[in-house]
Symmetry: D2
Amino acid sequence: MEPWRTAIATSDENTLRIRGYEITALMKLTFADTVFLLHRSRLPNANERRLLDAILVAVADHGSGAPSCATARLAASGNRQSLSAAVAAGILAIGDEHGGAGSACMELIAEGLELATAEKLSIDDAARRIAQSAKSEKRRLPGFGHRVHTAADPRTYFLFGTAEEAGVAGTGIEFMRALNDAIAQTIRPLPINIDGALAAVLFDLGFPPAFGKLVFIIGRVAGLTAEVAEEYAREKAMRIRIPVIYDGPEPREL
Amino acid sequence: MEPWRTAIATSDENTLRIRGYEITALMKLTFADTVFLLHRSRLPNANERRLLDAILVAVADHGSGAPSCATARLAASGNRQSLSAAVAAGILAIGDEHGGAGSACMELIAEGLELATAEKLSIDDAARRIAQSAKSEKRRLPGFGHRVHTAADPRTYFLFGTAEEAGVAGTGIEFMRALNDAIAQTIRPLPINIDGALAAVLFDLGFPPAFGKLVFIIGRVAGLTAEVAEEYAREKAMRIRIPVIYDGPEPREL
Amino acid sequence: MEPWRTAIATSDENTLRIRGYEITALMKLTFADTVFLLHRSRLPNANERRLLDAILVAVADHGSGAPSCATARLAASGNRQSLSAAVAAGILAIGDEHGGAGSACMELIAEGLELATAEKLSIDDAARRIAQSAKSEKRRLPGFGHRVHTAADPRTYFLFGTAEEAGVAGTGIEFMRALNDAIAQTIRPLPINIDGALAAVLFDLGFPPAFGKLVFIIGRVAGLTAEVAEEYAREKAMRIRIPVIYDGPEPREL
Amino acid sequence: MEPWRTAIATSDENTLRIRGYEITALMKLTFADTVFLLHRSRLPNANERRLLDAILVAVADHGSGAPSCATARLAASGNRQSLSAAVAAGILAIGDEHGGAGSACMELIAEGLELATAEKLSIDDAARRIAQSAKSEKRRLPGFGHRVHTAADPRTYFLFGTAEEAGVAGTGIEFMRALNDAIAQTIRPLPINIDGALAAVLFDLGFPPAFGKLVFIIGRVAGLTAEVAEEYAREKAMRIRIPVIYDGPEPREL
């Protein structure tokens, strides 16, 4: 078998380097620096790091009942031999529907800005077109609305405010604000949710869309480890049995 | 890298063999034959196959609320991009506590029979010793009792009856019956549950203890695939939110 | 929380039923019967069972180096606390690219037959249209060709022959044969591989496309359990280290 | 079903709190602060945060060939539908053997210090006893020695130096240094590896042993996400096929 190739990390008996930097040099910095470095092959500046930290914190946990946390706890309920099995089960509940709207919204932003460029539209006009076509196709736009937070999400204000203050706000945030207005006019007022906010900021920081999902996984794993530790510490194995009503075929004979 | 070594399967452009048999020859037989072959490197006789089939069926599914099934459905609730992710999540809930008692009971049977041999005891006496030490150490014996089925599990009758009828019942079943009596005298009447029944039969069929857990995984994956298919077909993504009461620190400031 | 609803299985303290049948009645039948029942809500006839058995066997294992088997062994190499973790890791390697072509091919068959109906074409003509558009769009058709087996896969002959002999061959097999000819004329001779064969047979048996992937998972889990058992039995933990060449940034200072 | 109980996080339509703190307040801090808060229910001071950051960075990645990274890449090779499936597969390779020695070493430290207290021994004498019994039982001590780094791991120097400089070094580091000396005298010089170093520091920071494994999972997920992103970006699906030699039964007939 040909050796695999990687540009991420290398180690031998004397040294361990990530993207060319000695691990002991990186250990003087923060974890967010290394997350940024692993994904961008350069270290962030202070503002980039601050925003990445804020996003990782924003998605860490918002309650044991969310699919990822509940899945981890259920797995821990039946299998106490492997902490990693329970954490991995939690991660498996993360997809386009749970934790994935950030990725989809980053693609939407890219699409909107490409439309503006291709058709020589203002960002406002491009946003209106996107909102109108979503309305006519009855398509839900990722990054807007929330099952619980019907008002604007305070995390959105924080991320946008920090990005603007730090001078890293760009066309991503501009487009999301424009789309927010366009949706309010075309459909109905829908707040930019945390997925939409992190999508705009990650877009302006230069991350690719897939990172919208990966950053959710990295941040959420902090919460999942705490959920699993709490399940082990406070609960007996097999304590969970979901109530179920059977509505299938009546009793029958072979 | 050195090539790995395996005694399981091999294929080239003309042929595919499992344990030396052409795949098209095996395709004339049943799946249980191939499961047996993969794990024992020989084909089963008709009675062995019949018992393995019965065990695989016995563990396939007993309700969507069990940890493995519920974990798979929860993962499917958040992540609709990968059927295998949801099935894998369900498997991760299988451990010593859920689906693992068969393995533990096979080890218990081996321990009991070794005790009988080492101490020149009858199987009945060895069983009594095991029951007494479990009582004095307040240790729960795997394979006995059930959260739901307080009476004897009908699956146990079926497996033991079939094994005896087929002439494959051996010291595994003998020991479990003896232990059942000893527990009733020493502790209180506790039925042999499905884990205990499959453990005794698999022991008599010559399987190693780990197979007690693996056979549960193989059988249960049939149920998990049906649970995931039903979740996709009948339910919207994100339909599940487990109710949670927060009892942690009061609201506080940094 | 509202109870969940299911039409699959139900159990109480006296009974356990799958799709309405008592588990002890099902335990007299084969595992393939229960797989069919779980997914179709009825028992198969002898021919349907024979074909499902053949498909489950066909995909069980074809070598430790395939992504699913190798992933399971690698996970077992680092984590010996949980058999289910290693098996689950193997399942996670199953997707559209590995084990998923059967599903895609079932969708292709449905598309081809709908085209025939909609445009009042013969099956041969519909197949030619599909082959031509695949050629002009440089799209690979699922179910044809193989990395290793360049000649026709013997499993394909077996499945088609058995289906025809049993009288269950229908428009699925007819369309795949027609498409095979059309591809040979339009592109170049490409054999129907095992994914194409099982897709055609499952289509004719009335299964939905998703089952093409689920049946691969059910069959392959038999192989994965054997691979993991062999890894535990024959190999030390941490024996595997994949050789890697680093081609990233040169050593650099902060 | 009774609602679950948690002391971790709570959210309603207006607010989201972790351990009582508003999420937007936490977003001003770093991710390491939130990791610490999630697991300890209080925020760290600057030195505690600095050490936790250093540990998270230390375990993030040390090459694509390690079991966790290679497992993630293999899963991505066969399944491109779910980033989370590939990351989860990588986490499943984490166990006592890979990433778990930190937990085991934290238990060893606790055991050594309890021995010192119970037997009124100095820490040096307790360490000597542990080393001697490991030698006579031919038991490997977790936290010492390395397959690649035969000299002292530079990460160990860094962590111990930082802990001492910061005034958080306690009996954990003291015991590990004593055990290092005792092993050199009793067995042979074996360096304290990164698992031993992080175990000593986490012990002195007051974390429970399970966190030794959980912190590895949190740190490593950063590397796994980068490995999976690189696999998607640089490699075709199904590019990996591990070379395997078959040494099982010869070709045979049914």
